[in-house]
Subunit: 189 residues, 2 copies
DNA sequence: GTCTATACGACGATAGAC
DNA sequence: GTCTATCGTCGTATAGAC
């Protein structure tokens, strides 16, 4: 079969999927070639910086996806509670109800290099900033909004780890349900 | 220099430290030999099952440490709140206020093999069970005690991930402070 | 129980044809 | 822009001396 090219978005999607399943160190170039349906040399043509650049591209694309799509409901109008619920539904879809891993976790171990590390930190900051804005909108002052946002992200990350180790996805579902409570400070139901 | 032996406890401690820093896939046998001050062949003498067996031993030893030492205050007498605070201090020490990773996270990615996976799941179950007992003691019924325990562990795991990515250890400190609230259901302060 | 030495496949990365 | 072929290194794992 003659050179059937792989589009950039396909490529990034397949890389993202692989890194989420196997982590940075666990995904070899052979695995990547198989998953992307490209030869190793073709991968180096697209990413001269090698695996580190691939991780940077994945972190960047995922950060962009969160900012422009997954978290976008927060920037719309309507009741804040409903916007947060919409983000919760997006998170549930992105993490497949707790069956899939978070790149913040999977890419934050190993020798990523400065580029990919910076992209990953930026993606985390974007997520936390969006949540901080929601908390502020609900009336939290500057000193409490960011902690609430960090803790809301942490609740999701931790639920994914517990779900991965125990095989029980319910902790993730509960984390999503409690997203509004954590962000806008509603007392426990 | 003639064969200067390394005790079992030293060996496990050095392996644990390495896996917590680099993860399972990120720790090569060369890294392990350097960290343990043993040659690779000596490591295979101690662990004929190779890296997978080393991970199993680390998971087992850490599970034991949690059960018999770190979580031990829960089984003493005295006010429940104070026992939980004691566990919080132990967790703060074990994770060095958020600077060190959790093995549940670092060992739950990669080809661990069935032994190590089982040991890791058992360690997680032991931790969650101990927290479940505390929640039950505080009056939670069977249906709510385990979720509370899972969520309390998840809060700590997630805080460690956020701390690792952002470099901000405060989310971890807050997770420890809120340990009692999450477990025994005290409304937010 | 530790060591030196080595097997050999997989690793990340590159060269050069098409 | 993709491919086949290959480089040198490092990966896990063993053999056998002491």
């Amino acid at each position: 079969m003659p050179p059937l090219t792989v589009t950039d978005s396909q490529l990034i999607a397949r890389l993202t999927d692989l890194f989420r399943r196997q982590g940075y160190d666990g995904a070899s170039l052979g695995d990547i070639a198989m998953a992307t349906k490209l030869q190793k040399s073709s991968l180096y043509h697209r990413f001269p910086g090698g695996k580190q650049q691939m991780a940077a591209a994945v972190a960047d694309a995922t950060g962009e996806f969160f900012a422009t799509s997954l978290l976008a409901p927060l920037a719309t109008d309507g009741p804040l509670e409903e916007r947060i619920r919409a983000v919760g539904r997006n998170l549930d879809a992105f993490y497949e109800s707790g069956a899939r891993n978070c790149l913040l976790d999977m890419l934050s171990v190993g020798e990523l290099g400065p580029e990919a590390s910076a992209k990953l930190r930026a993606a985390a900051a974007g997520w936390i900033d969006a949540f901080t804005a929601a908390a502020r909108e609900a009336g939290a002052d500057t000193a409490t909004a960011t902690p609430r946002a960090q803790d809301a992200v942490a609740a999701i990350e931790g639920a994914l780890v517990v779900a991965r180790v125990t095989g029980d996805k319910r902790p993730f579902s509960r984390a999503i349900e409690r997203l509004g409570d954590g962000l806008i400070g509603t007392p426990a139901r």
